[in-house]
């Protein structure tokens, strides 16, 4: 689509210069006068009774100001209660009648620990060095309890219980059924059934989490700086947990070094650090280290799907069955969010009439899983897209052809899936051309020439993955647009940036909606002191919700300014135009009344100011979407697998994406590229591995492997953007989309490359040892017909 004003233009980011000079302000760069530093003692056991915590030596250590155990913390701040997680919209209840159990999470463990890395005690000292020294002087007595790590094992009747008062480890359960899947399976020409596992990996932003809290000694107000995606939600949570009126508590997310969902959760340290600052009357800081991040920040993925597809002889899919087990880790903090996303994205772009899904979410003695870029979608897409390839093989069809045959066609839009979305609305795809996306991805990846280079030693294959993504979920986002007397426009929004470039894209939107120059707009977010209401930047929502809130507020400001300008110029408002920050009478572009002068005219010092008008030229807006809008994409990848080493090389990666109307193409493509790389990390390198005792064996970046520049494939992107009819801007969210496809697409390509050997890929990551193991197993099973393969 050609640019329409500033929207659609690849403007360079206004964020960059400060960050490039090292003048960013991340949470650890904030160090109030007299700031103390905290360190946490964490459980070395996955499941144990805590019988005694002895802080007596630690509190006497040099530089230590205070130490807290679980009982002290509980008395001062209580456990973390995730009330929002209990909310189930009535239509969701009617559709799937879910069981949702949410436990309170102790800020520091009291009588029990349930995962390695759970905080047990906190030391506050004059420096981090001294606080860590003192941790070694804390004596904790543990009594081992039986451990369960595997979610399927956790559902067995004799499994150790995470919550002794519960009769089992099921935190969440629901079923969904439509059509007549039993009849469809009975009548099918072909069926496939497989067990696919989406393994555990995580966001691991390069900046870890961190919190700084300070109480103003004069008025008692508390300020918290946190590396958070949701400062307003944290403010509301802390107000309740610490007993502050929300207006006496300000939460700021300064520059944040990546989040990807991990910083959208609320954690024990978020509560404990402000609590300590209040108790001690001095500022307190805690910066997570990488070992803490890998063990204790939220993880993502980990689902086991037993999925089956039934098709007729033409490859038309008649029914889908899936029995899903999701590993929640030791606590469920966000309730239905991730598992329910897995249900509502299981059908993806496909039109399937009969469906039978069972979801069970198990507690285990592992780190908490929570939303991570995609939040339930990559897991479910891995299962369904792998099953599509198995079905294509069974039918002897081209996998892309099978997909296209089953996709919802553009003329079926708006298309109702029969499900209810998490926000309580019927799930209706609002717009999109899924077959078009598939054809585009296929064209971009241009696999034929590469496939022709395949040899017995270096086998080349192609894989696809298609997905939909509900973006811009409610309940709301807020914005405020104000024109300052000098003509500068300040836009405040309730979200927070972790690198998405909001200060650029939201300024483009505001400048267009208001009729001012881009460079006159300053965007401020991530600060509850700037704007009282806000929800936060999670779930691919800020562009959709904050963007449209800004349009509404800017429109209101423009209309009011026009009315006042008309009074000033003594002409009719209908005869005025606003462009580049100045009003002109229609047909007299030479006469200009700058918007700043209109704002100045309202000054209380101006004796001629109109009576009854407020002094500020500003408006606020709360945007509440009717429901989500559906982005979609198809990924296609060509891989080469070295049969002798098991090494997978990505030869070419293609993405065809629909994210609605694009505000800034450079930033949009950057979001997709970044998401794809995180997906590639999960597909090939990254895995959080627990041993049977619940020890995290990938607890550093030496074991938890993030991809580097050397692993970046040739990436080809294309947009097939269909504007959303659901919001005035026509935008869809795109923060997560890139991360959804790669695990499935790459697994499909690897299996395609190795299909002659009889290899079936059932889980990732597809590192060399797993690929070699797959080849060895296939050869052993008698599929091998290649003499280059060792046994």
């Amino acid at each position: 689509m050609p640019p329409d004003g500033l929207i659609g233009q690849a403007l360079p980011r206004v964020e960059d210069e400060r960050l490039l000079r090292g003048a960013g302000r991340y949470v650890d760069d904030i160090h109030p006068e007299g700031c103390l530093e905290a360190a946490f003692l964490r459980s070395p056991f996955a499941h144990a009774r805590v019988t005694n915590v002895d802080l007596s030596e630690a509190v006497r250590a040099p530089g230590v100001v205070a130490a807290f155990d679980g009982a002290q913390a509980a008395a001062l701040a209580g456990p973390l209660v995730f009330d929002m997680a209990r909310i189930v919209p009535e239509p969701v209840r009617r559709s799937v009648d879910p069981l949702v159990r949410v436990q309170p999470m102790p800020s520091l463990a009291t009588d029990r620990v349930t995962f390695v890395g759970q905080p047990v005690a906190m030391v506050v000292a004059e420096s981090r060095y001294l606080a860590e020294d003192a941790l070694q002087l804390i004596d904790v007595e543990y009594e081992d309890l039986p451990v369960v790590v595997d979610p399927e094992r956790a559902l067995e009747p004799d499994a150790p219980l995470l919550e002794p008062e519960w009769e089992d480890n099921v935190a969440i359960a629901f079923n969904f059924r439509k059509g007549d899947p039993d009849a469809a399976f009975a009548a099918a020409h072909a069926t496939v059934e497989e067990r696919f596992r989406s393994h555990r990996y995580m966001a691991a932003p390069i900046e870890t989490r961190g919190v700084v809290a300070a109480v103003d000694p004069f008025d008692g107000r508390l300020t918290v700086w946190a590396s958070s995606q949701t400062p307003h939600l944290l403010r509301d949570f802390l107000a309740g947990a610490l007993g502050y009126a929300p207006d006496r508590l300000r939460v700021v997310a300064p520059d944040v070094g990546g989040g990807f969902g991990m910083k959208g959760s609320i954690y024990p340290e978020d509560l404990l650090v402000p609590m300590a600052a209040r108790e001690l009357g001095r500022p307190v800081k805690w910066i997570e280290d990488r070992a803490e991040d890998l063990a204790s920040s939220t993880h993502g993925r980990e689902q086991v799907h037993r999925i089956a597809l039934a098709a007729d002889a033409d490859g038309r899919i008649l029914a889908l069955r899936d029995d899903i087990v999701h590993n929640a880790g030791a606590f469920t903090t966000l309730g239905l969010v991730v598992p329910y996303n897995s249900l509502t994205h299981l059908l993806g772009p496909y039109d399937i009439e009969a469906v039978d899904v069972r979801m069970r979410v198990a507690l285990t003695n592992t780190g908490v899983t929570a939303p991570f870029r995609g939040a339930g979608r990559p897991e479910t897409v891995f299962a369904v897209e792998r099953a599509m390839d198995r079905l294509a093989r069974e039918l002897g069809m081209d996998p892309a052809e099978l997909r296209e045959r089953n996709m919802v066609r553009p003329e079926q839009m708006p298309y109702a899936t029969g499900l209810v979305y998490r926000d309580g609305a019927d799930q209706v795809y609002d717009s999109g051309d899924y077959p078009g996306l598939l054809r585009k991805a296929r064209e971009l990846v241009d696999a034929e020439e590469l496939l022709a280079q395949s040899s017995e030693e270096r086998r080349i294959g192609v894989g696809y993955a298609a997905y939909t993504e509900g973006t811009g979920v409610g309940p709301f986002e807020s914005a405020r647009v104000s024109v300052e007397p000098g003509g500068k426009v300040i836009v405040r929004y309730g979200g927070a940036s972790q690198g998405q470039g909001h200060r650029t894209t939201l300024a483009q939107i505001a400048a267009d909606a208001l009729g001012v120059r881009f460079e006159d707009v300053e965007v401020r977010g991530g600060d509850s002191g700037e704007l009282a209401q806000g929800f936060g930047t999670i779930a691919s929502r800020t562009l959709v919700l904050a963007g449209n809130a800004i349009v509404e507020a800017a429109t209101e400001v423009r209309e009011r300014a026009k009315r006042i300008a008309a009074e000033m110029l003594e002409i009719s408002p209908d005869d005025l135009e606003l462009a580049e920050g100045a009003f002109s009478p229609k047909g007299s572009p030479g006469t200009k009344l700058p918007l700043g002068d209109v704002a100045g005219f309202l000054s209380p010092f101006n004796p001629a100011r109109p009576k009854g008008e407020s002094a500020d030229l500003a408006a606020g807006s709360i945007y509440r979407p009717s429901t989500v809008t559906y982005a979609a994409g198809v990924h296609a990848v060509v891989v080469a697998v070295d049969v002798a080493t098991g090494m997978v090389e990505l030869l070419r990666y293609a993405v065809a994406h629909d994210c609605g109307r694009v505000v800034n193409p450079t930033i949009a493509d950057g979001q997709i590229a970044g998401g794809v790389m995180q997906g590639i990390g999960g597909a090939l390198y990254e895995e959080l591995v627990y041993d049977d005792a619940g020890q995290l064996v990938t607890g550093s970046f030496l074991d938890y492997l993030l991809p580097t520049a050397s692993e970046a494939p040739e990436l080809r992107l294309a947009h097939l953007d269909v504007p959303s009819p659901l919001n005035p801007l026509g935008v869809k969210g795109l923060g997560e989309g890139g991360a959804i496809g790669p695990p499935a697409a790459i697994a499909n390509a690897v299996e395609d490359a190795l299909h002659e050997l009889g290899v079936v890929v059932r889980e990732g990551p597809l590192g060399p040892s797993r690929v070699r193991e797959l080849i060895r197993e296939a050869v052993k099973a008698g599929h091998g017909k290649v003499n280059t393969v060792g046994s």
Partner: protein, 159 residues
């Protein structure tokens, strides 16, 4: 703990301090010298966010003690273009959109600045090899590789 006197050149200025022997160079730069543009992402030498230039070579400041920098010349991101326009590497990251959250960016800029000063005609493999010492979680690297090529072109042209 007994402190040790050190003297070093930091971004061209002579600085002296008394530090504990166990103090990391990264903490010395950030918390003692208050130059917070050097970031710490893993504290075990993998992510490269804390990269600074020590006597002309890129070094991970989380893997050095401050006392090891005694007598050395240390350059941080704040020293790359202290007053005027952005340096060529910084400018290239901006133009190629080689950055999103900006947290890893100073480390990339320092690694690449050291490489291109020492080998202005580094080939693509050398560029990639150097870039692979720094982790980025936002960009997917494509635009970082682009930025590196752009910076090389410009620094070559200037040489």
């Amino acid at each position: 703990m007994a402190e040790v006197d050190i003297r070093l050149t930091l971004n061209g200025e002579e600085r002296s301090a008394s530090v504990e022997p166990r103090l990391l160079l990264s903490d010395f730069i950030r918390h003692h010298m208050r130059l917070t543009g050097t970031h710490v992402g893993c504290e075990h030498g993998v992510c490269g966010a804390c990269t600074v230039i020590v006597d002309g070579e890129p070094q991970r400041s989380c893997l050095m003690f401050a006392v090891q920098a005694d007598g050395a010349s240390v350059e941080t991101i704040e020293g790359v273009a202290p007053n005027g326009e952005l340096g060529p590497v910084q400018q290239a990251f901006h133009e190629a959109h080689g950055m999103q959250c900006g947290f890893c960016t100073p480390g990339f800029v320092m690694s690449l600045t050291a490489l291109l000063r020492n080998s202005p005609d580094a080939d693509d493999d050398e560029l990639l090899d150097s870039l692979s010492g720094n982790l980025c979680r936002c960009t997917g690297y494509v635009n970082i590789i682009e930025a590196a090529r752009l910076a090389r072109e410009r620094m070559n042209g200037a040489a």
